[in-house]
Structure formats: structure tokens, C-alpha cells
């Protein structure tokens, strides 16, 4: 009697485990890859740290990142790193550590907004071009080619200069230059998945075209897109920092990392901490995304996985 509920919950657990067998295997494999590849793990930790700071950063700053304390400004300005100010202070006596923490929020927001605009455009245009082919494909791909023929940064500069310098116009400009890469990836994958028999089979049971595109083709093309997006998160952060650096992105007093680097430039190299710490933040974040992207690619690449599975099998038996 006593063991009844326990055995029941045990049975329930077993059932749950059986039901999600495929998913559990997937997670275990990811864990194995992360364990085997320390770089991917470092990337994962850096990205996790970035996201956490991006979310809670503005609430945990030791000092106000924006407001200038005029009463102590002269005394506090351009102080080197100390226990009081870990990353030193800027020319208005503001704590650079606080500003860098608050800046993570901006970089996170920029990259998410840019992706949220660029990915859907890329997916929809890529699916349409790849699935329909012919004239649709020609039109979409030629427009894409035009966008791709300019270096992303130059085009983004042109867009945000036209839209006026602000963090929002920088986001729109980046989204406008970022979608063509996704169109290409999605289209190329769609071209091959389109020929699969299961797509024809779906058509043969009378499934609507939109459902075929989003329910049957899209899930089968998402993997390479996921890798590319992860790698691109770093590039978006870097490019938005570059836009702010040349004065086209975030405007003062917004604590944007690129902006901080630009502001600290005139005090460099004697007051090195002013540029160094924001620069380090950019560096670690971009590095983190790139390492994670590489790791993810390995994780999702069947060839690499098979190698790993074999290796695992060898040691076990």
C-alpha cells in the first residue's frame, strides 16, 4: 500500500521518458558535444552571461549609468580602475562598469530586434523563391543579389544616415542589410527539400501550399538557418557597435558599447580603461556567439555526430 503511489509515479516517469525518448537522446547528444568541445562550452557560457546581464544588467549597476553627479564630477572624473570603480570612470565621473552593464541591454535589444525583422523576411522570401522557382525565384534572388553586392556595413551606414542617427534607425538599417543572407540559405535548402517525396506526398493528400511551406518544408530547412543566425548574432552586435562608433547609432548619453569606445578614444592611451572595458565587452560577446555557432554547427552536423556516437560506443563496449 505504501509503495503504491511511488510505483505509480515511477511508471509515469518511465512513460514520460519513453514518450520523449527522441528528445532526451537529442539533449544527451548536445550535452556530449558540449562536454567534448570546451570551446563551444566557453561560447555557451559567454553567451549565457551576455543574455543574463542583458536582462538584469540595468538593475544591478552599482551607480547610475546615465546621470552625472555634478557635485562630485571634478573629483571623480577619469579615475583608473579601483575597488570603488572596477572599470574606472569617464570624463563626467560616471562609473564605466555600470555603463558597460547597462550597455549589454542595448546590444541584446539591437540584435534581437534586427533578427526578429531579418529572419522572417529571409524565411518567407527564401521559401517562396525556392518552392515556386521560375519568375518568383528570379525576382527575389536578383533583389537579394543587389543587397548583397554592397558590404553590409556600408549599406547600413547609408541607411541609417538617411533615416537619421538614432538607435532605432540603426536597428532598421541593420535589419535591412541582414535578410539577404537568410534568403539565400533558406532558398538553397528549400530547393533540395522541395524535391523530397514527402512534399509531393503532402500535395497528393491535398495539403494547402501554405501548410506545405511552413509545416513540411520550413522545419526541414531550419537547421542550417539556426547555425547561421547564431553566428550572425555576434556580427550584428559588432556592426551595431561600429555604427554607434562612427556616430550613426546610439546617441549620448545612451551607454552603447560602440559609443563608449568612441568616447574613450580621445583619452587613449593614458586613460586606457575608458576604451578597453567596453571593447572587451564587445570582444567577449562576439567571441561567445561565434564559438557557440561553431559548436552548434558541429552538433547539428550528422557527420560529426556520427563520429561522436561511434567514439562513445567504442569506449562503452
Amino acid at each position: 500500500m505504501v509503495s503504491m503511489p511511488r510505483s505509480r509515479s515511477f511508471k509515469f516517469l518511465m512513460e514520460l521518458r519513453e514518450k520523449n525518448q527522441a528528445r532526451i537522446k537529442e539533449l544527451r547528444l548536445m550535452y556530449e558535444v558540449l562536454k567534448k568541445s570546451p570551446l563551444a562550452l566557453i561560447g555557451f557560457i559567454l553567451v549565457l552571461g551576455f543574455i543574463v546581464i542583458g536582462i538584469i544588467g540595468p538593475y544591478i549597476t552599482p551607480y547610475d549609468p546615465i546621470k552625472i553627479d555634478f557635485s562630485n564630477m571634478i573629483k571623480e572624473r577619469l579615475q583608473p580602475p579601483s575597488w570603488k570603480h572596477w572599470f574606472g570612470t569617464d570624463e563626467y565621473g560616471r562609473d564605466i562598469f555600470s555603463r558597460v552593464l547597462a550597455g549589454a541591454r542595448i546590444s541584446l535589444m539591437v540584435s534581437i530586434v534586427v533578427m526578429a525583422i531579418a529572419i522572417p523576411i529571409g524565411i518567407i522570401l527564401g521559401l517562396l523563391a525556392g518552392y515556386y522557382g521560375g519568375v518568383v525565384d528570379e525576382i527575389v534572388m536578383r533583389i537579394t543579389d543587389i543587397f548583397l553586392s554592397f558590404p553590409a556595413l556600408i549599406l547600413a551606414i547609408a541607411f541609417s544616415a538617411t533615416l537619421g542617427a538614432s538607435i532605432w534607425s540603426a536597428m532598421i538599417a541593420l535589419a535591412l542589410v541582414w535578410w539577404p543572407g537568410y534568403v539565400r540559405v533558406v532558398r538553397a535548402q528549400t530547393l533540395s527539400v522541395r524535391e523530397s517525396l514527402f512534399v509531393e506526398a503532402a500535395k497528393a493528400i491535398g495539403v494547402k501550399t501554405s501548410r506545405i511551406l511552413f509545416r513540411h518544408i520550413l522545419p526541414n530547412v531550419i537547421t542550417p538557418l539556426l547555425v547561421l543566425v547564431t553566428l550572425d548574432f555576434g556580427s550584428v552586435i559588432l556592426t551595431s557597435a561600429a555604427l554607434s562608433f562612427i556616430g550613426l547609432g546610439a546617441q549620448p548619453p545612451t551607454p552603447e558599447w560602440g559609443r563608449l569606445v568612441a568616447d574613450g578614444r580621445k583619452w587613449f592611451p593614458t586613460r586606457w580603461w575608458y576604451t578597453f572595458f567596453p571593447g572587451l565587452a564587445i570582444f567577449l560577446t562576439v567571441l561567445g556567439w561565434n564559438l557557440l555557432g561553431d559548436g552548434l554547427r558541429d552538433m547539428l552536423d550528422p557527420k560529426f555526430r556520427r563520429r561522436l556516437e561511434f567514439r562513445k560506443g567504442d569506449t562503452n563496449e
Binding site: 514518450k19 509531393e200 506526398a201 493528400i205 495539403v207
Partner: protein, 323 residues
């Protein structure tokens, strides 16, 4: 003539390739009667599958249907708008494919895929609620432990089981016509027999009609009522199955049957048909089998049309026009 379910008249499908126009199906006519098991036999590339796909306009570019009619219960499917066709596909006419491993979407459970087929044709049913139906149909196609299997992904099932699932998907809406495109080719012989039995059994149970495409004469003999033989995009002979095997009329059919080794007789040499299947871009003038036919005459430079030599036995060969 009310017992005719599907009538194909003078169907023409061309493929526009870089090398030239391939007339994959060139003036094919036949009819399928309600409740029968109709087979189409022919070599690879003779237009069997293209004919099957053209029936519900599933031909992909560069292929195009350039002529003819497909009358299904009196409606010309080739003239119907895409929207109406979607209602017919999977509901009235269902397909079974050759390779069950690639005919199922790898990312969904088989139960989901059966349920989807139900839901697509029934806007009131959500896919989630159609799962009971999926389990029912899996039981129907003799899959053991259907409740558990319905939650499996295609890669977790064997080839034979996958083909049963594909048959289940075809059957779930109780279509009037099932078009099976080489349903047993990808399976080994013992499973083949099981699948054919299953098809036959389900046909009787649901009173549907099956049109099967195959290149395997053994499979044809096992299940069919009537057989159509195709060669290079044309129909050469249509006959009831016993007639065709006992008294093949067209030289190609004769050659085809002679080329099948009989397991009861030890033969020194398999009699292959001499020559090759014609290049489909520059097809021979007149009868397409002429270059390989030992009975060929002057007259064969013109295309013979099908004539009814005996009741229900049609053949396209000048040999039988003499009378």
C-alpha cells in the same frame, strides 16, 4: 457505362528539357472500372508514373500536361481549378508511393501524419483530435501495438511498417480510387506479398478501386483484375490478367513475358528483348516498338491504334488489323 470510375482519354504529357521535348506520355487512353484492381506494367521510363501523377495534375515542371482528358466520375480533373483538385486529392483519389522512407516527413510522428490527412479534408477536426482515427487506421493496416506506434517517428519503423503507414494514410479518408505507384518495389519479397495481400484485403473491405503501377509481372499476376502494358509512352495492350498471361498479343508483351524466368523450369538463357528502349526525344516513327520487333513490316511506320481483338482485350499492333 456507369461502372467506369476513371477514364483517361488521349493523355499527353511533355517534359521540356535542355536536350529537347520528351513526350513521356503520348496519347494514353484507358478506363478503370469501379471496384477493380487495375495494373499498369512497363519498363522504367515508359511513362507509367507520369500517367499516374497526371491524373491529379501532380506533374512538376519542366513537365506539362499538354492534352487529353481525365474523367473521374464524369468530371474532367484536368479542367478543375487547383482548389477543387485539392479537395479530391487524398479524399477521393489517394496515392501510395514507391519509397515509404521518403514519402513520410521525417520530423513528424506517423500518427500525426495520418491525423493530418484526416484534418486536411475536414476543417472541423483538429489534428490533435484525429489521433484516435490514426490509431484505428494503424490497427486496420495490421501494425502491432498501434497506440505506441502512432507516436513513433518514421525512422523508428521498418520499411514494411512504413509502407503500411503510407497505405494507412491513403486509406484513412476512404478514397474511391487509390493509385499505388510501385508500392512493393522498395520492399523485400516476403514483405511484398504481405503488402499486396493487405492492399487486396482493404480493397474488398472498403470497396474501393486500386490502380497499381509496377514493373513486376509476378506482382501483377498475384493481384490484378485487368492489366495495361505501356511501352515508350504509349499503351500497347490492355487485357484481363489471365488473358494477358495466357495469350499475350502484342509482340512487346510476348517478349516481356518470355523474359521472366520461370522458377519451375531450368532455363539455359533468359530471352531478353533485343535492342533498347528508344530515345524518348527522337522516338521512332510509327509504332515505337518497331525497331525491336521481329514482325515489323512497312505498315508499322504508321502508328497503330488500339483495337478490341477479343472481348475486353485491346491491342495496338497492325498484326491484328488484317482481318
Amino acid at each position: 457505362m456507369s461502372d467506369i470510375l476513371l477514364e483517361v482519354k488521349d493523355l499527353k504529357v511533355n517534359f521540356y528539357t535542355y536536350a529537347g521535348v520528351v513526350k513521356a506520355v503520348d496519347g494514353v487512353s484507358f478506363s478503370v472500372r469501379k471496384g477493380e484492381f487495375f495494373s499498369i506494367v512497363g519498363e522504367t521510363g515508359c511513362g507509367k508514373s507520369v500517367t499516374a501523377r497526371a491524373i491529379t495534375k501532380l506533374i512538376k515542371p519542366p513537365g506539362r500536361i499538354v492534352g487529353g482528358k481525365v474523367l473521374f466520375e464524369g468530371k474532367n480533373l484536368l479542367k478543375l481549378p487547383e482548389k477543387e483538385l485539392k479537395k479530391i486529392r487524398g479524399k477521393e483519389i489517394a496515392y501510395i508511393y514507391q519509397d515509404p522512407s521518403s514519402a513520410l516527413d521525417p520530423l513528424y510522428t506517423v500518427g500525426y501524419q495520418i491525423a493530418e490527412t484526416v484534418a486536411v479534408h475536414n476543417p472541423l477536426i483538429k489534428i490533435k483530435n484525429a489521433f484516435t482515427k490514426a490509431v484505428e487506421i494503424l490497427k486496420e493496416v495490421a501494425i502491432p501495438d498501434p497506440v505506441k506506434r502512432s507516436t513513433n517517428y518514421p525512422h523508428e519503423l521498418s520499411g514494411g511498417m512504413k509502407q503500411r503507414v503510407v497505405i494507412g494514410i491513403a486509406m484513412v479518408n476512404k478514397p474511391k480510387l487509390i493509385i499505388a505507384d510501385e508500392p512493393t518495389t522498395a520492399l523485400d519479397v516476403t514483405i511484398q506479398a504481405q503488402i499486396l495481400d493487405l492492399l487486396k484485403e482493404l480493397k474488398e473491405k472498403y470497396n474501393t478501386t486500386i490502380m497499381m503501377i509496377t514493373h513486376n509481372l509476378g506482382v501483377v499476376a498475384q493481384v490484378s483484375d485487368r492489366v495495361m502494358v505501356m511501352y515508350a509512352g504509349k499503351v500497347v495492350e490492355i487485357a484481363p490478367v489471365e488473358e494477358l498471361f495466357e495469350k499475350p498479343l502484342h509482340p512487346y508483351t510476348q517478349g516481356l513475358l518470355a523474359a521472366v524466368p520461370n522458377p519451375l523450369k531450368k532455363v539455359e538463357e533468359i530471352k531478353a528483348i533485343p535492342g533498347f528502349v528508344p530515345d524518348m526525344i527522337n522516338v521512332p516513327k510509327g509504332c515505337r516498338f518497331r525497331p525491336r520487333c521481329k514482325f515489323a513490316t512497312e505498315k508499322c511506320l504508321q502508328q497503330p491504334s488500339l483495337i478490341e481483338v477479343e472481348k475486353d482485350h485491346w491491342v495496338a499492333c497492325w498484326k491484328y488489323w488484317k482481318r
